[in-house]
């Protein structure tokens, strides 16, 4: 058991101050902006909750939210199973492991706007390998004109960019399974599916929770990649929440509505991460009490 020691606060203090500076002051400022209208740079007028009402009832916000939820759902449905499948088929020892890990982690280390640039170039009909090949094969593909094409391009890009995260997480869960488990399963004559269902999946549960929630949250706040590839277009077809928000805050300098939207956005994120945190710590607590029994 961990011991109670309130002096541990002193060890946490530097982190607290640093993050408070970057998080609490800006958050307070956003709250202040959200109830006021601004003219010029430093003149503010009290408007009460008008902006919140406006954002909550605006079609634009609803659409961006729906698009974002749809995007996150599709991303999870593709990336999680694909990531598990790749991790299961990966070699467990030998030189193949290093090669796989290094090559797979590579997309994660590329600056996000470069990821956007890579795919923008790759998917272009005139000079990109993907776009050119598809056109040659007779597909009518153009991600700057067609909504569906734009969506497919963004989804494939995100799968390219982030599936490796799921692979690495699942893989780290898999290698932590002691070989004795597999031997026992072989003696029992367990099928491939049974091994997956009753040995591998439970062992991966912990890291999969992390994977699902990290992927959900990161795709829910995606900004740079779609901004570079489609700029939110064609029309507004790929304008996700963050793109909409930055457009409002920096592009149009509508401080009030942007702040109100930020807060609503933040509350949604807060709710999701609370659920995430609770599920994760609960798992820890259950694992600890489970260990006590066995």
């Amino acid at each position: 058991m961990k011991s109670w020691n309130n002096k541990a606060w002193f060890l946490v203090l530097p982190v607290l101050l640093l993050v408070a500076f970057s998080a609490i002051i800006p958050l307070m400022t956003v709250v202040n902006y959200s109830v006021q209208d601004s003219f010029g740079s430093n003149e503010f007028y009290w408007v009460g909750l008008e902006w919140f009402q406006e954002v909550l009832s605006s079609e634009r916000f609803h659409n961006a939210l729906m698009r974002n939820l749809l995007f996150s759902a599709i991303i999870l449905l593709i990336e999680i199973p694909l990531g598990i499948a790749v991790a299961l088929a990966m070699p467990r020892r030998g030189w193949g492991v290093s090669v796989c890990l290094v090559l797979m982690a590579l997309p994660l280390l590329i600056p996000w706007n470069v990821v956007g640039t890579i795919w923008q170039v790759f998917a272009r009909v005139d000079i990109g390998l993907l776009g050119y090949s598809l056109t040659q094969l007779g597909f009518d593909y153009n991600y700057t004109q067609d909504t569906l094409d734009a969506w497919i391009t963004l989804i494939v890009m995100d799968v390219w960019h982030w599936t490796s995260l799921v692979v690495l997480l699942s893989y780290s869960g898999l290698v932590s399974i002691p070989p004795a488990y597999y031997q026992a399963a072989r003696i029992d004559g367990a099928s491939r599916w049974a091994v997956f269902r009753y040995i591998q999946l439970p062992k991966m549960r912990r890291v999969l929770v992390i994977a699902v929630l990290l992927r959900f949250m990161d795709s829910f706040m995606i900004y740079t990649e779609p901004f570079v590839v489609t700029g939110g277009g064609p029309g507004n077809a790929t304008t996700f929440l963050s793109i909409d928000l930055v457009q409002m805050a920096i592009g149009q300098f509508d401080l009030g509505p942007a702040a109100a939207m930020s807060l609503i956005y933040f509350l949604i994120i807060l709710l999701v991460s609370w659920v995430f945190y609770t599920v994760m710590t609960q798992q820890d607590a259950d694992a600890e009490s489970g260990r006590g029994h066995s």
């Binding site: 961990k2 970057s22 790749v86 590579l106 600056p111 640039t117 170039v121 000079i127 912990r206």
Partner: protein, 265 residues
């Protein structure tokens, strides 16, 4: 096992194709990119790389990025180490809520903070400095570093601490001489993640810089929109941003999987 090897192979091919295309484009002349469609460069040229490496408005972007990324990694790790130790070893008033609050900052969309960040750092006169970007990136890197280090530290048995204290080690001496070497892989992985997220982030870095500290990724976007479409140079610049990442992955490859699981497997 051999039968299923095609899945990772296929997946890696999928990962490498766009990168291959970028690499090939960086070796082509602009004229070749636009006029002919070829899988490899007909006229192999290094001109695109020379353009970047000889023009200070290009290569200074790499230097700027490097400076704030390193600053951020150092700051994040030095504050995260003691905090992670506190979280992994002690229970204290409000510890769980504090940990959760840190976590929410990792989850918060950077777009929410862009606007007040600009005002905040303007008020302190820090706009267009490297330290501004480094501090701003601490918002998500410090919580992440605490999270990863806490996972690694919790896997070190508590008996080691107790034995050291009985042997008469003071806390600072124990921490630097005994504990830090034990979690060296964890520190490496945390540094890797700080590096990674500071390196790949664009929105905040772009907002807080004007010219003197502008990161390479922001310079790229500007060049694309302004001077038209010099695809070859763009590809070369992109390729050069991939290299530092590839290097650091190579160094932490043995711990990377555990790091992604935040030390919790």
């Amino acid at each position: 096992m051999i039968r299923r090897a095609w899945i990772p192979v296929l997946y890696i091919v999928f990962l490498m194709l766009p990168l291959y295309w970028l690499l090939m484009m960086s070796f082509k002349t602009n004229q070749e990119i636009l006029s002919t469609f070829s899988l490899w460069p007909r006229e192999f040229t290094l001109q695109n790389y020379i353009t970047i490496l000889s023009d200070s408005s290009w290569y200074s972007g790499y230097i700027n990025s490097m400076i704030y990324v390193v600053m951020n990694t150092v700051i994040s790790l030095s504050v995260a180490l003691p905090a992670a130790y506190a979280f992994s070893r002690y229970r204290f008033l409000g510890d769980k809520h504090l940990f959760f609050w840190l976590l929410t900052n990792r989850m918060a969309p950077p777009a929410v903070f862009v606007l007040p960040f600009f005002q905040l750092y303007s008020a302190f006169g820090l706009i267009d400095t490297h330290i501004a970007v480094a501090l701003a990136h601490c918002l998500f890197n410090v919580p992440l570093a605490v999270w990863i280090l806490e996972g690694f530290m919790s896997s070190v048995p508590r008996e080691i601490d107790e034995t050291a204290y009985i042997d008469g080690y003071s806390f600072p001496r124990f921490f630097t001489k005994i504990f830090t070497p034990l979690i060296a892989p964890g520190i490496g992985v945390a540094a890797f993640f700080c590096f990674m997220f500071s390196w790949v982030e664009l929105l905040i870095a772009r907002t807080l810089t004007v010219t003197d500290a502008k990161p390479i990724s922001a310079i790229m976007t500007r060049t694309v929109s302004a001077s038209g479409l010099d695809w070859g140079v763009l590809a070369a610049a992109g390729m050069l941003t991939v290299i530092p990442g590839a290097l650091v992955i190579y160094f932490v490859r043995n711990h990377i999987a555990k790091g992604f699981a935040l030390g919790r497997v």
